[in-house]
Symmetry: C2
Subunit: 501 residues, 2 copies
């Protein structure tokens, strides 16, 4: 069996390495590639992606998994081999259930839709993408049908990035959250708005980048196993446990863009860098779900990076970087500026409190589209109506409404957004558990010491890669499941104090 | 037949795309990769290289070539399809004649030898690498034996990078060159040495890089289809005709390092960027030989970039970039400094005149090793003796003697060095032909106008990719073959004037 396991690992490493090569080609395309490289790069990406898919669905992997199945059942659930075999079985079944012809049709359709959306969004032209989105919806439904036995048609689609999470789990969770958030947003927005003019001055790019890098290095992001470059949209990508890169973008008239982007991506990056090195090259060497991944980016960006304690340490240093703009701005004024809450149109610009309402809107619309309760042609109007209902303001156009996010126009409809809110919820829950285990953490943060928090997260979450699902992790850490309470408590305390509620 | 040709092209594009992906992984490894990425990158590179070799030796390609052979014979020799089929046949035969087990043994041995050399060179320790080099020699001989029917055992090895070139062609060419160079070097070095202190001041990196980039952009290197980054050793790499990148390295106390390195690599880069776009993704979309490639780098680096005319245009601009160091240095003094000739130990630092003596030394030693006339254990002593004989100075150690170049320690012995000298010879020959066809070129260069020269080289050489061999190109351009005369004339005129001979 050990010998078969080794053969299986060899196959799996090839799959993972091909996926890593796709990631390298993608990263280069987004960061450094000259425009003339685009046509060939598309060809090269498609070739390696095809080879990766061929390797991933190689029947030899299926036979090895079948042969190893009885042995796998006899192994300790917490062991690395057992975890590897669970994960490999899941990936293989997912990959072989979708016929290659469907995958090809789907990818071609996504590429076409993406290009149409890239032109349609600035032109505020939903009509052009409407028929493409109809097709996307049909393909998304067909994709779900390859995984029969679900309760809700969105479940198999959610399972791609949040394994084990279902509509049945998410609906009550989101309902509870909404019940807490809507009155909180109302209470905050009845107060005078915070003044954030101090972060809208002029902040030269070089200083912004250097400051962000110093902070995430202190956090524990390892630059000998990573780097930060600029790209139009920030992202984190992993070529191996020893090479996890992040990107950021800079606005010289908005300090928050690059800074919190960097803190956010470094959270993702530390997760990937912190995986048990024994998993290198194997499919368990990855984040376990979109929600847990996002819990780490949001924890380091918001729970730590927008806390008062953190800025007690970091603000004097930031003032020395930008003395002209910040020397006369108090810590308190700065803290209020970076935590300004407002009803706004764009999800990616939203503050901590309103952010989840943006997500829930999309989640509800996805479900209704998949259920057939909402037609694509009625989507823009539904967006506007729900948005007004939830947020109290109405998007003036589709550009900043239904066309604002790339997700539906570059992939399937279904399972796209829940991870963001799961991340906020889990981030607060994990942080509360960390502080319970290590009560010195908040004081250490105010001293610029992040080692205890980082170490706790690494041992508890990062190290395991995909060994445990999000639900299993939550259970191991808190003794219960995913819970909204710590997150609502965090928001109520922080924003209650900020807005004198 | 057209249909079979299309199927063949599809196969060939996949080979080329996999090779391009290897190049991307290599480029990233050398320019941006954090140190932690090394182990996985080695694995990823080996995987893609293996897949490329599998595709390249796919019997389907052989069958298609066999089927197309009679049709290929009927085609016009100058047509693109005929050229593609010639080149593809040659590549396929080369690839399948070496058994995969041999290729693997050879690659493993090279990796081991390279690592040993990287430690042995700074330690001046030839003894450690001696047994490995013995094995390299044996493997190089075995490699040649896979291609029987040669006149000299080095011929098949030379043919890998300078197709159609043989020891029978090179020996008389090099003998003629040596006969001209040795007295020229003697005459120059009997004169007082040139003063190059003006290029050894302090030149901040940023200014050096920006100036070099402005120059090569004027040359015709297209930054929308390329870019320049820093790496420990400069190189040019092509991911497609639309994405040809160069690298450089900077010494802040030696202006010549980055500047002439950039001009050199841009010469390689313009060659690759200038290939007929219809060849994109096919094996003819490449430089035709090491010698022709080097002719372009040396032409733009030396024949243009170290000419007095060029600096009449460029020197005032350079002075504005580094006014502190250069404002009191005359054009004449600068021109003499960048063309200083001296007997020196290191090939890569050698001037235009002595450079070829370094190459010939290595070429002769390679032949004798392969012939069995020289034993590996006697190589360091032979190096010292020949070097003294040829250059008039003796290397004090092996570090700057037989251990100085990576080539023998990272690959085969045989065919490693001739391309450098062929490049010098062909560069002068092609430039003379260009000026004969377009007599306004030198005056245009002195105005900073390079379009006519670049256009002539593009139409005459770049555009054809691998359609014509080096010998065919020389014949098309000059009516004869490769000839030493234009190069010796160029050196005698330039250095005769510089050194008052």
């Amino acid at each position: 069996m050990q010998k078969k396991l080794e053969v299986l690992k060899k196959h799996l490493r090839e799959v993972k390495d091909l996926e890593a090569v796709v990631a390298v080609l993608d990263w280069d395309q987004t960061t450094f590639m000259p425009e003339g490289g685009a046509p060939a790069r598309g060809r090269q990406l498609a070739l390696i992606a095809r080879l990766a898919h061929e390797k991933q669905t190689d029947p030899a992997i299926g036979h090895l998994l079948d042969d190893l199945e009885p042995w796998a059942q006899s192994l300790d659930y917490d062991g690395d081999d057992a975890a590897l075999l669970r994960v490999a079985r899941k990936d293989f079944d997912k990959a072989v259930k979708m016929p290659p012809a469907f995958v090809e049709e789907f990818n071609l359709h996504c590429a076409e839709t993406y290009n149409a959306w890239a032109a349609a969004r600035p032109a505020n032209d939903f009509k052009t993408v409407e028929p493409l989105l109809e097709k996307t919806l049909e393909l998304s439904r067909r994709m779900a049908e390859f995984f029969p036995g679900y309760e809700h048609i969105a479940d198999p689609l959610i399972d791609f990035i949040d394994p084990g999470t279902t509509v049945g789990i998410l609906r009550p969770l989101f309902a509870e959250l909404k019940e807490g958030l809507v009155p909180l947003v109302r209470a905050i927005t009845e107060q005078p708005p915070a003044d954030d003019s101090c972060v809208k001055g002029f902040f030269p790019e070089e200083g912004q980048l250097a400051f962000g890098r110093r902070i995430v290095e202190r956090y524990g992001y390892d630059f000998t196993r990573g780097r930060e470059d600029k790209s139009p949209h920030p992202f984190t990508t992993s070529f191996s446990i020893g090479d996890v890169r992040i990107t950021t973008r800079v606005k010289e008239h908005d300090l928050t863009e690059a800074l919190f982007g960097t803190l956010h991506e470094a959270g993702h990056g530390m997760y990937e860098q912190g995986i048990n090195p024994a998993y290198e090259g194997l499919p368990i060497a990855d984040g376990t779900s979109s929600g847990v991944h996002e819990s780490q980016s949001r924890l380091w960006e918001n729970v730590v990076g927008r806390s008062r304690g953190f800025w007690e340490y970091a603000y004097p240093e930031l003032q020395t970087v930008f003395p002209d703009v910040l020397q006369d701005v108090s810590l308190d004024a700065f803290y209020r500026a970076i935590n300004k809450v407002s009803r706004s149109l764009i999800r990616t610009d939203a503050d901590e409190v309103t952010y989840n309402l943006h997500v829930m809107l999309r989640f509800e619309l996805e479900l209704e589209l998949l259920e057939g309760a909402l037609a694509v042609r009625d989507l823009p109007e539904a967006w506007r109506a729900r948005f007004k209902d939830m947020m109290g303001i109405e998007p003036p156009d589709d550009k900043d409404g239904v066309l604002q996010d790339v997700h539906w126009y570059a992939g399937k409809i279904g399972g796209c957004f829940q991870g963001y809110t799961l991340g906020n919820v889990l981030g607060a829950q994990f942080y509360a558990a960390a502080v319970k285990a290590e009560p010195g953490i908040p004081a250490a943060i105010a001293q610029g010491e992040f080692g205890v928090l980082h170490g706790w997260l690494k041992n508890t979450i990062y190290w395991h890669g995909r060994k445990y699902t999000a639900n299993e992790l939550a259970a191991r850490i808190t003794g219960g499941g995913i819970s909204v309470a710590p997150y609502m408590k965090y928001l109520r305390e922080k924003y209650g104090e900020l807005y004198d509620l």
